[in-house]
Amino acid sequence: MASLDQLVKVIRETDTDKPSAEAREMLDDFLRASPAMWRGAGDMVEQAARHLIKAASGKSYAVNASMTRGWEQLPADLARPGDGELERLLVQQVVISWLHLSYIEYQYSAMTTMQDITIKRAEYWERRLSAAQRRYLRATETLARVRRLQLPAVQVNIGAQQVNQIT
């Protein structure tokens, strides 16, 4: 599987005012010929969501079931007809960021209402909360941007199926 570092390197070479034909071709090949990268991204987001649900629910079956249901339902609610692989990933990114933000907000609220909370610990949760808010905002902006740009279709082969990344 092609690595994230390789993709970032190719992106850097392509993201110029006048990218060379060679660099563009390399990026096209990379995106089309690296289905494992797309599968890997989906798996990583899924794994992160399971990790988050486990951490947030602790031993509570009810919380676990509720969050799992939310994780499965929210992407379907945010999906639009004709969404491609990229939009599907971005929707997942929005949902996981929202779940993480909710989890941090809950922790922050629980901690700051404790009588013996120290300034250091309150600051820790404030930093965490700000980071989660930024990540959520960025995820929603990216999804909105990709949808607004209405990119032309780019196809990628994932397994035996040919899937449109962008429609």
């Binding site: 990218p19 990026l27 990268m37 794994q47 990229l86 990540r135 990216t142």
Partner: protein, 132 residues
């Protein structure tokens, strides 16, 4: 050398320290046949020693201090475990986000966009997205 009957009062984990004129067992100091209980803490980067007393009352205060110390250590360990778990979770989410962001950038570039001052633009030069 510890005196008979006192060893059971030594705080757990206490280490004997040989000084020039005194022996210290954590916060106990021994002079002659007497021992004296002190609290030591850092105030503004300097070590401050506060004399508490001797005798049975000092023993009780020392035991209470030891219980408080153990309670604080347990709370600190619990906090550290929570922070470690939280960091691990944040890293997992960030790693997934990095990959999704890289793929997004890749698709945008492959579709004829590039970044100019953190804005995505068509290569022709027309601004297509006002968001950064």
């Amino acid at each position: 050398m510890a005196r008979a009957g006192w060893s059971d009062l030594r705080p757990s984990g206490g280490a004997w320290v040989e000084g020039l004129h005194k022996k210290c067992d954590m916060s106990w100091e021994y002079r002659g046949n007497q021992r004296y209980y002190y609290r030591r803490r850092k105030v503004g980067g300097q070590m401050v020693t506060e004399y508490i007393g001797n005798g049975a009352v000092a023993d009780l205060i020392a035991r209470q201090d030891e219980i408080d110390r153990q309670r604080r250590a347990a709370a600190a360990a619990e906090w550290q475990a929570m922070v470690d778990e939280d960091n691990e979770l944040a890293e997992t989410i960030a790693a997934a986000g990095d990959l999704v962001n890289a793929l997004t950038a890749g698709v945008l570039l492959a579709s004829g966009y590039h970044t100019h001052r953190r804005q995505w633009r068509k290569l022709a030069g027309k601004v297509t997205d006002g968001q950064s």
